[in-house]
Symmetry: C2
Subunit: 511 residues, 2 copies
Amino acid sequence: MMQQTPTASLEDLDARYPPNEAVTSRLDRMFYPKTVAVVGASHNPMKWGQRVIQSMLAVPFEGRIYPVNPKGGRILGLDVVCRLQDIPEPVDLVLVAVPPDKVMAVLRECVALDVGAVFVITAGFSEADRSALSVEEEMHRLVSSAKIPLGGPNGQGITCTQARLCAQMFPIMPPTGKISLVTQSGNVGVSMAHMAVYHNIGISKTISAGNEASLTTPDYLDYLARDRDTEVVAVYLEGADDGRRLLASLRRVALQKPVVVLKSGRTQFGAKAAVSHTGSLAGEDRIYDAAFRQAGVVRVYDLEELFDTVSAFAAMPLPRGNRLAVVTMGGGWGVLASDAAADAGLDLARLPDRVRTALDEMLPPRWSKGNPIDFVAAEGPDTLVKTLDLLLAGQEYDVLAVLGVGHQTLAVHLVKESALGKLDLVRRGAEWLMGEDRRKMEAVLSRIQTTDRPIVLASDAALSANSIGNQALEVFRSAGYPVYTSPERALRALGHLVRYAAWRRRTAEQR
Amino acid sequence: MMQQTPTASLEDLDARYPPNEAVTSRLDRMFYPKTVAVVGASHNPMKWGQRVIQSMLAVPFEGRIYPVNPKGGRILGLDVVCRLQDIPEPVDLVLVAVPPDKVMAVLRECVALDVGAVFVITAGFSEADRSALSVEEEMHRLVSSAKIPLGGPNGQGITCTQARLCAQMFPIMPPTGKISLVTQSGNVGVSMAHMAVYHNIGISKTISAGNEASLTTPDYLDYLARDRDTEVVAVYLEGADDGRRLLASLRRVALQKPVVVLKSGRTQFGAKAAVSHTGSLAGEDRIYDAAFRQAGVVRVYDLEELFDTVSAFAAMPLPRGNRLAVVTMGGGWGVLASDAAADAGLDLARLPDRVRTALDEMLPPRWSKGNPIDFVAAEGPDTLVKTLDLLLAGQEYDVLAVLGVGHQTLAVHLVKESALGKLDLVRRGAEWLMGEDRRKMEAVLSRIQTTDRPIVLASDAALSANSIGNQALEVFRSAGYPVYTSPERALRALGHLVRYAAWRRRTAEQR
């Protein structure tokens, strides 16, 4: 079980639990394969041995896929080879989907052929029957002596957008990006991928660790720490056999790039469910909590917070401090954002006179005259971007939040799609307003892309943005830039950025 | 400011602050008008005096709308009358959108004509300048002596789905239902309405209280407590002039129907922002908290939790206790749900032998053999509904949760829309699987509709349900039944149901 570790000994942990170079150095062949074999490829479209091929073809994978099945024939238009050794070229990745009692034999063939990497999807090992732990140990001995990385068993599979690889049961492929996920639950990985697809947030890899017979969560973390396609790491964790090793790997990541962990099994019920699910001993939660804090790990508490937070890290620079300015298109959102700012440890710092004076000149007297800056529906087409420019011109604020983006387009859309939209004047007015809103958002995006400070966006209009086609929010969506659906979610994510940045600065000073 | 009030004195509060019958009895004319006049109707489509007419026509309102403007002419196809008194029939609701200095004169005309109710949208009163409080007091004196209910000023307006009335600036009309909202922020009201539209959750009324010159949040609450179209009340609250009166009204609602409050200004930043926004003194948060608990108010902490919680109350019966059974299509979701259950005070009670034995017969040995019930991808088409029937056949559980609904359809949709969908066999298989998933969900819905226990649903597939047209989730959507986007959100809402039901039982015993 994980013990509390004083900061002084973190360097020792690093030395004591170094990355397992022998296997992690070969992981590129797992994630960027040119050839993939599927052993246990099935002619039955309902079996996992075919579903994983469907997933690869759906994306589609551009390398070569070899279904392996002693019966031969064709599956989904691909020629089936009868045995692994019939494949006429070196195999980078072997996916194994044969019944559990046939897995060891396949692994022996993999070793004989010196394949690049193996991932065992087949379930029915230690997660179902603790006595199968000895089989998993045997798997590990076999492949590790041959230095072949082996993922699973009982894993959903892996994906890598840069390789156009969806080597898993669920056929989902997020947009290409720089967030990678290691998960001890396949369906949590699917949830993340689905959120990424829905919000158009870029992902690099998703890794379903399964029973971790050989490759463990710490191994994947050490690989991702150095992976050039990965700039932010997300982890869904139920437990670890060796807490110290996990901590050493997490810290190695945190020193390079943000690592955000959703640790479940926090409660008695959760811990019990984790044992039943993956056989993980969840461990004392307060010990994990202290260890995470020391190691620079960003801890989150639910699935949406995990996604929100990694999206923020991937999209925004690290802030220099916690001084926040809020610009809001609505008073209530501003108040909720103020509470959320306090909760997240952000400082809603006083508006400097130079900004106040400039806004007084630009706006009628009813504007909020403070931070949050609320135009109280008195803004012209340039007010928002001029205000951002004012805020960015000085050094009073480290982070900015803009609330209510794309709301004008939502209102106009609703009128345009109604009976009123038949009136020529209304329709033309609507189109003009939508164009104006889009131009405003383009100007906001240009500031986001040129400043070195985080600008976080939130709007309930983001909820329907990709079902109604909100042209203003499409500006951000197509740039892969997150728009949070509530001020609370936006500022919670921003708080994590601020705290991680402060940890990085402290750690850099100490070293 | 609100003081702590021991339970014993709540009955006294009720007597001391009775509902203001004189005005609230006339509020039906505000929410169910047959004739609406808009004073300050504008020929300029950008002005609020026209936007509110656009909103009404967009829905469209089926009563009669009279734009009032001394210039006459036509606005959006409606004949303009020059003065209020030119309207040839009694006016139920007068919306006022003239400049601030002309409002009092309009109110005098309203009193002279004895109109049903007035709502002043015009801003620029106490929210902008505290000295305007005296004008607001004058408004109140004028209308209350005439017993005319007056909403606003500085309010976004009101909506009532049963009356097809969207008498507000933002043109949004949720589906018809039984949730009503009183909000001290117009844009928070829009956020709620937008979530309702997006998730197809039914709403009755939204009321933007504005500066509460005459009608106050407690007045609206007393009206909603008795409104037959309202079964669940949502409140966004920044503060109250008279905390005791608010408490008395909240408790009157809570004794009849659930009342869920998002109270902002919890923190120093939030309290300051609330003063700037509505002039509200937010008050000591811990005093509100204690008072809410005594009064049976369900307190929530963010916008999404507010919506999630009222959706649950509107859709589900009150539970008899906190014993929860979880059925999950994925292990990780089950673990997260277990933690969330503990956080929400739910008891993930042990699976009784009769259920365990029945599931052992139905499933291969790898199922979770506990609560959460995880089929571990071994389910057949009837497994889910048979499991629900098993759970509902006994009295071991008060509440059920089903995680991962509609996921099969999401997977199949992704394959069908991919390059693979061109293969005949794949397409036919996909259609068959989607039909099967839909039939499964129809069976789940039939259980939901016939049981007297809450069954809460969650699935990340709900995120994209109305953009990809998930036919399985459409079963719930078209029934207006919520599917939460994460297990955590679902169980948080369920926890509120359990606690409110317990309060109702305790209170009933004491009375």
